[in-house]
């Protein structure tokens, strides 16, 4: 028991719970819809989850510092359009340059958010709602209402989404899914093993203490927004590849999907706790539900959003009630163990009790 308590934190239990929930959803719909669980369905989900999952990674970084990034929907739309237009007029741009261009444009937009929030000390919700609108209007002005269509794009990007790295039976491991996995793994490692990552947790955990702790907290909040913008740019690239036809409405609402994913994935809106892997699971669960409900004729499509809304609310409720209790239990167990250990070596005074 003692070993288990030391080994697992409440957050990990929560992630395990999400995995179980995802399995339950699959089992449930398999029993409701004939031929539901197939290789084709797996391939569809693994393609459609990519954009929101990448955004959720960036959103996690920002959430950890007790902030929001509402502007990502417009950043995705703008970078997708901008990149499409560049590829249309300069078809010779190599793929790697196209990806870097998208990330660069996204970072620029994220940097504006970051400067205003970290150095201007404007609440992030206000900054990013404003830039959400500003970046969208910028796109409308810039595009001159001329949409990008698949016909304008070079072949390599149009053929990218179905491109498979390898396959097991009919289940394909597609390149864009691979990109997403890479992003999730990299940022999971960043958050666990880089001082920058740990300090993001610290900032959200106690902003007042972070100010006087002796590390550059402002710069770190800025960097979180910068990275969120860059990841939104990358998501814009994937968005362009997947849909090909980009209008001024591209990416509208993605900011909500990304926030829903991180909240369901257990990233606390009060900062300080949550993981990138959890956010990915959140994105996966939401995408799975959306796709499944779409095929399930019993529920009218008007109820789909309501079900997602209820999912988000229950995720937050779980966060406050269950995780809160688990944390207190863990804290008690921790104290108990310290006391017991102190009693085992009586020369060391009890300080934790």
């Amino acid at each position: 028991m003692r070993f288990l308590i030391r080994r697992f934190q409440p957050e990990q239990i929560r992630e395990l719970f999400l995995v179980v929930l995802i399995v339950l959803v699959v089992v449930f719909f398999s029993s409701q819809i004939p031929g539901y669980f197939s290789a084709r369905f797996v391939n569809r989900i693994s393609t459609s989850v990519v954009v929101v999952a990448i955004l959720a990674v960036g959103q996690t970084l920002v959430f950890l510092t007790r902030n929001f990034d509402m502007s990502v929907g417009s950043i995705v739309g703008f970078t997708a359009y901008f990149l499409g237009q560049q590829l249309w007029h300069h078809p010779g741009i190599p793929p790697w340059a196209a990806v870097l261009l998208a990330i660069g444009v996204g970072m620029l937009m994220g940097a504006i958010n970051g400067v205003l929030v970290a150095y201007g000390r404007v609440p992030s919700i206000i900054v990013t709602i404003s830039t959400l609108a500003i970046y969208r209007s910028f796109l409308v002005e810039y595009s001159d209402a001329v949409p990008i269509t698949t016909n304008n794009l070079p072949d390599w990007i149009v053929n990218l989404p179905p491109l498979s790295l390898f396959s097991i039976g009919d289940v394909e491991f597609r390149l864009i899914f691979g990109i997403m996995v890479l992003v999730v793994v990299i940022f999971q490692l960043v958050l666990s093993y880089l001082p920058f990552g740990r300090r993001l947790y610290a900032i959200g955990s106690n902003p007042a203490a972070a100010e006087i702790a002796g590390f550059p907290a402002q710069r770190m909040v800025f960097t979180a927004f910068l990275l969120s913008g860059g990841l939104a740019g990358l998501a814009g690239f994937v968005f362009l590849a997947r849909f090909g036809n980009i209008s001024v409405l591209a990416g509208i609402g993605l900011e909500f999907s990304s926030i829903a994913a991180v909240v369901v994935g257990g990233v606390s809106n009060m900062g300080g706790s949550g993981t990138v892997f959890g956010a990915f699971l959140g994105a996966l669960l939401i995408d799975l539900l959306e796709n499944s409900l779409f095929r399930w004729q019993v529920i009218s499509e008007f109820w789909r959003d309501a079900i997602l809304g209820m999912l988000i609310l229950s995720a937050v409720a779980i966060d406050y009630v269950v995780i809160g209790r688990l944390r207190r239990a863990w804290a008690r167990a921790g104290l108990q163990m310290s006391v017991e250990e102190a009693q085992e070596k009586p020369e060391v005074a009890i300080h934790a009790g």
Binding site: R6, P195, R198, A202, N206, A209, I212, A213, L335
Partner: protein, 503 residues
């Protein structure tokens, strides 16, 4: 004697109307615990905030090893080996103990090596002779343990000057003993410690040298063995009381309220007093003495959970501010900017807010003219200086804002008015006017409870003074018997001398 590590030379700092620090010099020697004492507002916090780079001084300089240094922020303070531990520990609840210790380190390589970090944390805690699970989240730790984590953090950063701002405020006696052991062992390792405390006996117990600040000035600085408790207290309070307006002598009216054994869990207990019409009852005590909590309980914001309140002969329960106002009890808060006034609204709107129901016409709309006439009446009565009755309260001076807040509650026609720090942060002239107003109110038969950290003010204005310390009533002094030393001694918990001064 070794050279001082840190010297503060002629440091001054001013905030708007208040001179928080005035030409203060202080030397911190290696291997010495330097106690810093003073009343609330004496400038202790400002001084340490300058040392840690949160504020920059208007004048004066800081010398580290004889070299002038500029400390602009906490990173630079840390780089110079200066760290501070506050009353409320500044830990990160979501991170574990080891991470909290090493979160600010810049030199531990590009990657967090969890295993090494935990081993290093264990080693540091072992050096402090403390048993804590380094993998435990800081969330579950007691305050004392959180403080230990902060001390461990400071040590891991090779701190040379450790500032402790009332570290014992929320610790039990046992925990204080542990802390002191720790502090002494740090001193023996050559660290220079600046120890700020409210409990004088504690400060004197731990310190090698004691410096007293009063009203932003350094009054005295002595080696511990050269001073007595009495002398330190005298240095802390010795102010010229004649600066203060005195309450006029008024015949005490009939009994208004009796409070018997009032208590609230984790706040205060055993509060017992009577207050009469036409009387000012002062509440004295230091920060953390829970005087405000008693005020909030009487006004129903945080109702008491034991004891009784008898108002004009009837036992009453006050469970909400609405009930309190109906019974004729009003409370003017200590934090007028945050809680007391709506700064962007006019004086008239502020005054009528609690009693707005009486300013409505049959359609439920506000009768502007009635509001204005009430405001005009009060403006004359309290001689409030304002550009107009409809000007935003924000634009008034601190003293006039304070008067507007008084009007706000006087308009409810209370029998008992509780004033919490009514003169904090306003200049001397305005203070005198507020004092005059309080005196006038008492003369009209109002009972006033005056909560104030300004000891001379309480002494000058009160008919009787109730002294509190850490939620307990330490005694009630009659005006004639109350001296600064006596009240301060009771407030600092020096029982023995308290009996000598006020038998």
């Amino acid at each position: 004697m070794a050279e001082p590590i840190l010297r503060m030379r002629h440091v001054s700092k001013r905030f708007d109307m208040t001179q928080a620090l005035d030409d203060v010099s202080l030397d911190l020697y290696p291997g010495e615990i330097h106690g810093l004492v003073g009343e609330n507002g004496a400038g202790k916090s400002t001084l340490i905030k300058i040392m840690t780079g949160i504020y920059r001084p208007d004048h004066g300089e800081m010398l580290l090893d004889g070299q002038p240094v500029q400390v602009q922020n906490s990173q630079q303070a840390q780089a110079h080996g200066i760290a501070a531990i506050y009353q409320e520990p500044m830990v990160f609840p979501d991170l574990n103990v080891a991470e909290n210790i090493f979160i600010s380190h810049q030199d531990r390589g590009p990657v967090v090596r969890w295993g090494k970090m935990c081993r290093d944390a264990k080693a540091i805690l072992a050096k402090l002779d403390v048993s804590l699970d380094v993998r435990q989240q800081a969330r579950g730790l007691t305050l004392a343990a959180q403080q230990t984590v902060e001390i461990a953090k400071a040590i891991s950063l090779d701190v040379r000057v450790l500032i402790m701002d009332e570290p014992t405020a929320s610790l039990s006696a046992h925990e204080v003993t542990r802390l002191f052991k720790l502090v002494r062992s740090l001193r023996d390792q050559g660290v220079s410690i600046l120890f700020i405390g409210h409990r004088l006996e504690e400060v004197l117990r731990i310190s090698d040298r004691v410096t007293v600040l009063r009203d932003g000035e350094k009054i005295s600085s002595h080696l511990r063995e050269e001073v007595t408790v009495e002398q330190v207290i005298r240095d802390m309070v010795g102010r010229d009381v004649s600066d203060f307006f005195s309450k006029e002598d008024i015949e005490r009216g009939e009994l208004l309220m009796s409070v018997r054994g009032l208590g609230k869990e984790n706040a205060f207990q055993g509060i017992t007093f009577d207050v009469y019409r036409g009387e000012v009852l002062g509440f004295a005590g230091l920060i953390g003495s829970r005087r405000t909590d008693v005020g909030l309980a009487l006004f129903g914001i945080d109702p008491a959970d034991s004891g009784e309140i008898i108002l004009e002969g009837t036992r009453r329960r006050i469970r909400s501010p609405e009930e309190a106002l109906k019974l004729g009890v009003a409370y003017a808060t200590e934090d007028r900017r945050k809680l007391g006034l709506n700064l962007s609204m006019s004086m008239a709107s502020n005054i009528t807010l609690p009693m707005l129901a009486e300013y409505l016409n049959p359609l439920g709309l506000i009768r502007r003219r009635a509001e204005i006439s009430t405001a005009e009446e009060f403006r004359k009565r309290l001689s409030i200086r304002t550009p107009s009755l409809t000007a935003e309260v924000e634009k008034l001076s601190g003293g006039n804002q304070q008067k507007v807040m008084l009007c706000k509650w006087l308009n409810s026609d209370p029998k008992l008015l509780i004033l919490d720090e009514p003169t904090r942060g306003i200049d001397v002239g305005a203070k005198a006017e507020v004092h005059q107003t309080i005196s006038d109110l008492a003369a009209r038969g109002l009972a006033v409870i005056l909560i104030s950290s300004d000891l001379p003010e309480v002494l000058a204005m009160s008919d009787r003074i109730l002294v509190m310390r850490e939620g307990r009533q330490m005694g009630v002094f009659e005006h004639a018997d109350a001296t600064e030393e006596g009240v301060m001694t009771a407030a600092m918990g020096q029982y023995t001398t308290a009996q000598e001064v006020a038998p």
